[in-house]
Amino acid sequence: MEEAQVVGLLVRRCVGGDAAAWEEIVQRYHRRIYNVCYRFAGDSDNAQDLTQEVFIKMYRTLNTYDSGKGAFMTWVTAITRNLLVDHFRKTKGDRITDSLDSTASEHEDAQPLSERIADGGLAPDAAVQKRETREMVHLALQSLSPELREAVILRDLQDMDYREIATALRVPEGTVKSRINRGRAELARLLQRTYKQVI
């Protein structure tokens, strides 16, 4: 069965009250949603809260999902994005201090075991450097405007295509592309500028 069919079936079972089907949906999608939230909000605590809110919202509105109108993942992304908008508005005031205050990236340590072993073979400096580079990128990402940030997250980290992103964000495809270009370029400039000061 194709992914779309499997998910369609799960949704129908779930709307019919099947708890196991719901659990399967949570198992399938929580990683992706958590990653979007983590890269957008910047830290694990907020990402966990947001992911949980996304699923609460999904659970309540699952009966409104119409497979004819697009892929399930696009629908889920739209829900996630709406909650991220709310989150951004709520926390707007303390963003600058946040980025100063925290390294925000507890996860850059939590790499897969295989890689941790591989890293063990590297000179410690190289491994540390690699991790710190990722931390810097993660921090710099938090400095992008939310419109640019969400666009590059969905494209470069979640590998969604332009049409899916446009549907989830409810903006034209041209706007999506332009935000992705600007987001990437701005991130690079920010990193290059800051990098020069550090090194």
């Binding site: 890269r39 925000a104 507890e106």
Partner: protein, 249 residues
């Protein structure tokens, strides 16, 4: 951006083609040629291409992160309220957990403090990172490096601040380790006294999850980049309070 036609396409067209061109598909050979030609001669688009490409590389260096192990459990508790054995090592019906699962629980009780320690970001933060987040904050806030020149950045002063931070981290770690040690001792004692410990899963009351459709659409972060967004812009609060219980494992 000055819209100057160079080699058949102008800067606006160049930007429109940029993401497709970087994806390596979607451009006809002729279009690709005009694009490349424009890139090499235009003082605006050339650097834009280079930056966008670098940005994409940085972004793609970020790997997917693994959510905390208790996240699925918490989501299920907050939604359907039904948590199966697949998600939860202990059983809801009060029967003893199978040996394998108990062993895993035992292992977790030892592994958890270790991984929590490994994940302590401040602990792993080097001097470079501290300085990076400091300068990033300034860049974002629009502060230029020369404005900071008056701030004391003498190595001795900075080192002092860094050492301070490290001492705090070490103290914090010691405290946490102490708590974990106590915790695991208590757990051991409990296990010794109650060999067939019944599962103590708390069934949280169901959050109201009636399937009322709620659709909020066309939302944006702000009307204008620099305009404040007031709380009044938010629609009526949801009927259900979405309390999250991240820590209840």
């Amino acid at each position: 951006m000055v819209d100057e036609t160079k080699h058949g396409i102008d800067c606006t067209e160049f930007e429109a083609l940029l993401s497709d061109a970087m994806d390596g598909d979607g451009l006809s050979a002729a279009r690709k040629q005009s694009f490349e030609a424009h890139r090499h001669v235009c003082a605006v688009c050339g650097p834009l291409f280079a930056d966008a490409q670098a940005g994409r590389e940085w972004l793609r260096s970020l790997e997917a992160v693994e959510p905390p192990a208790h996240l699925v459990h918490n989501i299920l508790v907050a939604t359907s309220g039904v948590v199966s054995r697949r998600t939860l090592p202990t059983r809801a019906d009060g029967r003893t957990t199978p040996l394998g699962e108990r062993a895993r629980e035992w292992w977790d009780s030892y592994a958890a403090p270790v991984s929590a320690f490994v994940r302590q970001p401040r602990f792993a933060m080097s001097f470079g990172m501290i300085f990076f987040s400091f300068s990033l904050g300034l860049s974002v806030a629009g502060v230029k490096p020369k404005d900071v020149a008056k701030v004391s950045l003498r190595p001795a002063v900075v080192r002092h601040a860094y050492n301070d931070a490290q001492i705090k981290v070490v103290q914090y770690y010691d405290n946490i380790r102490f708590v974990y040690e106590i915790e695991s001792k208590v757990r051991e004692l409990k296990r010794a006294n109650t060999p067939a410990e019944p599962a103590e899963q708390k069934q949280n009351p169901k959050n109201n999850t009636s399937g009322q459709p709620e659709q909020r659409q066309d939302r944006n972060y702000s009307q204008d980049y620099n305009q404040p967004v007031f709380a009044a812009l938010r629609e009526a609060p949801p009927a259900v309070s979405t309390t999250t219980n991240r820590r209840s494992v």
